[in-house]
Amino acid sequence: MTSAAAPSAASYPATRRRLDRDDLLMRAGICLLIGWMLVTLVLPLWWLLSKSFQNQNGDFVGLANYVQYFSTPALFASVWNSLFIAFLSTAIVLPLAFVYAYALQRSRMRWRGLFQALALIPILAPSLLPAISLIYLFGNQGFLKGLMFGGTIYGPIGIVISQVFYCFPHALMILVASLSMADARLYEAADALGAYKTRVFFTVTLPGAKYGVISAGFVIFTLVITDFGIAKVIGGRFNVLATDIFKQVIGQQNFEMGAVVGFVLLLPAVFAFAADRIIQRRQVALLSARAVPLIPKPAPRRDWSLFAFCAVVGGLIFAILAMAAWASFVTRWPYNLALTLKNYAFGDFDTNGWDAYWNSVVMASWTAVIGTFVVFLGAYLLEKTRGFAWGRGVAQFMAMLPMAVPGLVIGLAYIFFFNAKGNPLGFIYATMIILVVNSVTHFYTVSHLTATAALKQLDAEFEAVSASLKVSLLRTMARVTVPICMPAVLDITIYLFVNAMTTVSAVIFLYSTNTKLAAVTIINMDESGFTAAAAAMAMAIVATSAAVKIAHVLLTRRLDRTTQAWRRR
């Protein structure tokens, strides 16, 4: 029977679990992760912030720089310009992407796969590409210039159209995901109750996708307000925050004012990020395990209307891409339309020539490899470490932080931090290493969320089982966790590669003559009037990203057949 010990007043002292080797390793890992985040993100941002309170001699001047900023109309106007562009672009992209996503997920329209692939292509391109295309179409020598009715594409119109093109696939991916899950039973119930189609849409479809729409809105807003390339190429005299930072830092060498603008730019991005997180926290799973997947029924009128819509939107996307591609092969626009490859002889337009392209490939490859390693390992440690709540909390917060920090701001912060006198890490300044570290940090959050989502799908007891079998977690990670998560790991690698390949904003302050990147060269060549060469470089980037993406699809398919055989019955 029970040893019903006579209850005594004194009970045992609290038990503290002894740590095993895995615990120690994982805690050390989390500390390393925190250290990495401190050096690559937190300390640079701190340097940036403190720089904004200093004068050129490094003396503390309080809010003087901010006072000057807000009392200089030419600078302050950019805030409104940026917000205006961001709101307008969001208002245009959101409905377009929603209808497009709806057509892909909830209709039986033809060629859905083709439309989806087409709409996602802009992700593979630098944001500069649509701006260059628009210049060819509507610029001073554009063949559709007449359509501008005397207006100019250089300015808000050009920026907004380019942003719409650039942000569309980002919004589309989120909306497609949120529309992909639907419980057919809800629709059957609505049908049985005799609800009209529009009523069903507003009472079932839209509420189900609500969080996706909100999230997409914030993503577009943040992308637009922090993007640098588009405004640089097609903005003309229309100043936005992102170009202001560039002008202050590169043009006027006024680092302190650059820091102020950087901080101002950080605010809307942080705000959008925080608001999105708070709203998403309210989201509860709408789909129970018993949900019946919705399979749309054919409805010719709806399907063909949506087809027409997608054809127009997809057609425009295609036109912008095709324009850049065509321009990159034209001898001398618009006088000599004979096709040529000489625009691809980059050495004729920029001292770095093809080296810049290869620099980009090397940088993107390293970012992909190192980034995947750090991100996945980090996510694993945060998911699987037992106890150590404060360490995990701090690291988790730091992993989410990069999402809220615009690339330009990170780049600028890196100048201040790694260029500071006495920084023992100063040796990485102006090397390939700083570009890689910067890119890994800049794109950390999305990759981290992908890895975390994949890890959360695993049975939470795998680690308990390996502990009971006296197998180290490291071994279980290698034999079980990583193989199961392989598709997500590859997704992260590709995401990092493509983004590192196309980014401008994060690296514009950090390249040196030896490490100039392809996307930066586009801006340089465009500034020097070599627009065709700029288009050619943009196409080279698109082609590379696309090739990698196709290889990824093929590899994933192969992986599905071989290592993921266990997924099938």
Partner: protein, 369 residues
């Protein structure tokens, strides 16, 4: 019901002393003490949230207790991490590694212990034979049925010959037929290996059929520890009487030593009644203990009832007996034989007896049944 072939005797194999577990302000385990003897099959039984899984995870070292001590084979394991303890575990989800074959799953722990390949292969074959799946080594878990996955999980848990086998609701993900079959299989396996086993379950039938001893838990405390027969026949509390099996609860008042009054009826009961006369108590009697055959009208605890309703349940009938039209009605299980012989039908009045040795008396707490 299994025979009580293991008499708790000698030194306990697992000794739990004053274990508590706090989750913030919520106490999941309140001062739990329990001894488990070598070779025993013990079931932790209780409703969800009663602390049974928390206790199991504390024993495994997966979620360490807030305070208290655990000794396994005379060794203090209270603060050891799971990797330092000696146990095998089967989870409700089985947690089989989906990307490894059945053989690799079963041999998972052996590979890391430097056992030669040939030996591992032999051991895996033995283990798979032991759980009745000798042919399945090359398959992946997804290719197996739920019951087969469960057996693989058991084989994997046994691979390192642990001194303690922990089963966390191992059968609840299966359908009724497979569950009934595997109940016997696990029990048989236990008898063959003699490994001390603890199984967590919320299913009283599972506990009654499989366990040597049952630990009934509720709201973080142990309500009763005993053999299935003891727990069923002599529930230590109204909670146990209600949770295990079906029980009638009748409000009554103590009128004297060994006597209580239920409505207008005076009843004798064998047990000493702790509260004195005038105290409210709850009487408990199982439906199958209500006697209706050969009732002598003058015998103790005999009175007349009216048959209010009859529910046919196959091998027996559950009958609602109305006592002076008072609520609640008394439930009684009568075999088909009895129903036929005594011509029991709705509306009929007849005498019944509540045997004093089958009446349990519990102090009445405000919210208890």
């Amino acid at each position: 019901m299994p025979e009580n072939n293991v008499k708790p005797s000698g030194a306990p194999y697992l000794r739990i002393e004053r274990l508590t577990k706090q989750f913030g302000a919520f106490a999941a385990l309140k001062d739990i003490s329990l001894d488990i003897y070598p070779g025993e099959f013990v079931c932790f039984l209780g409703p969800s949230g009663c602390g049974k899984t928390t206790l199991l995870r504390a024993i495994a070292g997966l979620d360490i207790q807030t305070s208290g001590r655990i000794f396994q084979a005379d060794k203090d394991i209270s603060a050891l991490p799971a990797s330092g303890r000696d146990f095998g575990i089967v989870f409700q989800s089985y947690a089989l590694f989906p990307n490894l074959t059945v053989a690799a799953n079963v041999g998972y722990g052996l590979v890391s212990h430097g056992v030669p390949k040939v030996e591992i292969a032999n051991r895996v074959v033995d283990l798979l034979r032991l759980v009745g799946m000798p042919e399945s080594g090359r398959k992946y878990p997804a290719q197996l049925s739920g019951g087969q996955q469960q057996r693989v999980a058991v084989a994997r848990a046994l691979a390192l010959s642990p001194g303690l086998l922990l089963l966390d609701e191992p059968l609840s993900a299966l359908d009724a037929r497979v569950r009934a079959y595997l109940r016997i299989e696990i029990r048989r396996l236990h008898q063959r290996l003699g490994v001390t086993t603890i199984m967590v379950t919320h299913d009283q039938e599972e506990a009654l059929t499989m366990a040597d001893r049952i630990v009934v838990m509720n709201q973080g405390v142990i309500e009763q520890v005993g053999t299935p027969t003891e727990v069923y026949r002599k529930p230590a509390s109204a909670f146990v009487a209600d949770f295990v099996g079906t029980t009638n609860f009748l409000p009554a008042v103590v009128v004297g030593p060994g006597r209580v009054r239920f409505g207008k009826i005076d009843l004798a009961c064998e047990l000493d009644i702790r509260p004195g006369p005038g105290h409210d108590v709850t009487l408990a009697i199982r439906p199958e203990d209500v006697v209706v055959r050969n009732v002598v009208a003058t015998a103790a605890n005999t009175f007349t009832v009216r048959i209010a309703a009859i529910e046919f349940l196959g091998s027996f009938c559950r009958v609602e007996l109305s006592i002076d039209d008072a609520k609640p009605a008394l439930l009684a299980d009568f075999s088909i034989n009895v129903v036929r012989d005594l011509a029991i039908a709705e509306g009929k009045e007849m005498p019944i007896t509540l045997p004093p040795d089958r009446l349990r008396v519990f102090p009445r707490a405000p919210q208890e049944p």
